[in-house]
Symmetry: C2
């Protein structure tokens, strides 16, 4: 049941009241404070959100690994948060970050969004690389294949 007054408080109030989903998560968008580019979209649980607020460094919750992680804990590519915003219904946060190290993406790119989708066309879509040169070697950083 939707509680309209609760929704109203969430939208117009000044209390942080995150609307976590069934898995206990909110969506987090991280943009680069210098370029404005979207670096990544990830998730935060209550603990990740609290730690990010308290430390000013980005913490996330990995759905695939089922665990809290500090961005950069393996790679050293931490994110210093310069600003955090919450959206109208408080199920998403936006952080502006100073990305330490060359890139935010585990594939070695500066941003996770390194492919463009051509618009105004029908039929099968062929993506196009954008700024897709690797800023670092993920195999060297993460020791993956």
């Amino acid at each position: 049941m939707i509680d309209e007054s609760q929704n109203q408080d969430r939208e117009e109030g000044l209390a942080l009241a995150p609307k976590f989903d069934a898995d206990g998560l909110v969506t987090c968008v991280a943009t680069d404070v210098w370029t404005g580019d979207v670096l990544m979209v990830a998730h935060m649980n209550e603990e990740a959100l609290r730690r990010t607020i308290e430390t000013g460094e980005a913490w996330y919750y990995s759905r695939s690994r089922g665990s809290l992680w500090k961005k950069g804990e393996s790679s050293g590519h931490t994110q210093r948060v310069t600003e955090m915003r919450v959206d109208c219904d408080q199920d998403a946060v936006w952080i502006r970050v100073e990305q330490n190290g060359p890139g935010a993406c585990h594939t070695g790119r500066q941003s996770c969004f390194y492919r463009a989708v051509p618009l105004r066309q029908t039929g099968p879509v062929t993506l196009e690389f954008r700024n897709a040169d690797r800023a670092f070697d993920p195999h060297a950083i993460y020791g993956e294949k």
Copy 2:
């Protein structure tokens, strides 16, 4: 079971292969092409994604209403997409948009992210309004209370 070769194709290939969640959705971040601000975070199902690609106008899927919607269909505040990107694992898209009309948020603000979360503090959080003046009157536009 995670299929590593499928993941590899998804990350490095040029085929659009969205990884829809259990509800058939991907996350969509819309940023303002002029200011770089995040305007909204929403969701797209397969049909919304296809229509957005074909028309270059933003379509979304409303989880609360359980239906496809063209952004601006009620308010006239449509979004012309100037660029679409897809992220590494193809479960999120980023669109840069020209926002028609004064605002993207149903509350009347330019952006849904009109409150800041103070950082580097512990304890209860008090949000702070940012650019929270209403760009339009949502009651007049949507006829809601």
